[in-house]
């Protein structure tokens, strides 16, 4: 349970970090909060040649809210985003979902952008970003690009990030006036990864939901028609026929499918309340 040996750099500016990563190419790996990466190293599931520690890039330790949304820098800790009053006003789903990310102790160190880059299909932040139609700003020594959430998550633990690139900022769009949000999940123990989770945005009769732990990447479903035509029962019927979860040691596929239906109804009720 010890990480394998690796080389290590701790740049103090983004330019320095990008220069290093450009040089290292596929050998370089960014270390942010490390709350997923360090266990992967300890369990020897990852063995990067060279870690580039971005924790000292204070220029990226920000949470900025404006009427159009919340911008979270790469070194902003989950705990800082969660407790940001302005961010909670602009997009309440962000803070509510963050409270379900592991435990407060993990959130003190883990970063929101890092969680997106880690791209775990059981994690809350990727589902929130995709549901809201957000984006990730990705920078390399050669330039920068804005990647839409729908294009950012490629597969389990695989994001659209290329060697040499750093995800410097995530953008979570604001909640439109009159809309409401909710997030519900079932996990085996408090703070564990969810067996199934549902994030919802509801605006009158229009509603969209995003599932975590149900597909290789966050799965979004527009349930507006089903809601209008069949009410919550109609939504549940649509959900259980639309999701196609995999079984694992925690839950069978049938149980996960059942949970998706029940939790979607619960999430939509909560969002309407």
């Amino acid at each position: 349970m010890k990480p394998p040996p690796f080389d290590y750099s701790r740049p103090t500016s983004l330019d320095e970090a990008l220069g290093l990563l450009a040089e290292l190419g596929a050998d370089g790996k960014v270390l942010a909060g490390g709350q997923s990466l360090v266990p992967l190293l300890s369990m020897r599931l990852a063995a990067p040649h060279h870690l580039v520690d971005i924790n000292r890039l204070d220029e990226l330790a920000y949470v900025r809210s404006s009427p159009d949304g919340v911008r979270v820098g790469a070194v902003a800790r989950h705990a800082d985003v969660e407790s940001d009053v302005a961010a909670a006003r602009v997009q309440p789903l962000l803070g509510r979902a963050l409270r379900l990310v592991a435990h407060p102790t993990i959130r003190n160190r883990g970063t929101t952008v890092g969680s997106l880059v880690h791209a775990d299909p059981a994690a809350e932040m990727p589902a929130v970003l995709v549901l809201l139609g957000g984006s990730v700003r990705v920078v390399s020594a050669g330039g920068s690009r804005e990647v839409a959430a729908a294009d950012f998550f490629i597969g389990p633990l695989e994001s659209a990030l290329e060697p040499g690139e750093v995800a410097v900022e995530a953008f979570f769009p604001a909640l439109p006036d009159g809309a409401s949000v909710s997030v519900v999940e079932v996990s085996r123990r408090h703070g564990d990864y969810a067996v199934c989770g549902v994030c919802a945005v509801r605006d009158g009769e229009r509603a969209r939901v995003a599932f975590l732990s149900m597909a290789p990447t966050p799965f979004v479903l527009d349930v507006s028609d089903a809601l209008r035509e069949g009410g919550l029962d109609g939504v549940r019927d649509l959900v259980v026929t639309s999701v196609d979860p995999e079984p694992d040691i925690h839950a069978s596929a049938d149980y996960r499918r059942h949970l998706a239906g029940v939790l979607t109804v619960r999430a939509l009720r909560e969002a309407a309340a």
């Binding site: 010890k2 990480p3 690796f6 290590y8 709350q35 407060p104």
Partner: protein, 152 residues
């Protein structure tokens, strides 16, 4: 070289980048109060305070926290007197084997700074990231409430 201030005492250590902070504290600095349980961030036994905030020392590289302040369980008490949280654990029988206790003590010390007067539910939430296999948590929850009383 990596500089760490642990419990107010500055240290300089020469460690490989792969050295976990938990191992650095225990092996390089001889501070064995910080316990290592699961070593992948689940059990909470290795929790220390980094610039005052609880973090898992098994999920940090020592080199990554160069120049920062760390408080371990050894730093909670002033001289020979137990801290309020430690005293509350003794009063309420909040430990049996004691393996998980350092992580609980550091977590609760920081938790009470943020919320000095927790309800029972908030006390449970405060310790939800720490595992104990002996006490069944009842006495630990009681100790959180007792520590709040002692600190007020």
């Amino acid at each position: 070289m990596t500089r760490l201030t642990v419990n107010g005492v500055p240290h300089t250590v020469d460690v490989a980048p792969r050295r976990l902070l938990s191992d650095c504290l225990r092996h390089d600095l001889g501070l064995t109060g910080t316990h290592v349980g699961c070593e992948h961030g689940v059990c909470g036994a290795c929790t220390v305070l980094l610039d005052g905030r609880p973090v898992r020392s098994c999920l940090l590289l020592a080199v990554s926290v160069d120049g920062q302040e760390i408080t371990t369980v050894e730093g909670l008490a002033d001289s020979d007197e137990l801290s309020p949280v430690q005293q509350a654990f003794e009063d309420c029988h909040g430990l049996q084997c004691g393996f998980c206790t350092p992580g609980f003590l550091t977590t609760i010390t920081a938790g009470l700074r943020e919320n000095p007067d927790p309800s029972e539910d908030e006390a449970r939430e405060m310790i939800a990231g720490n595992l104990c296999r002996c006490t069944g948590y009842q006495n630990i929850v009681a100790a959180v409430l007792r520590a709040a009383e002692l600190s007020s």
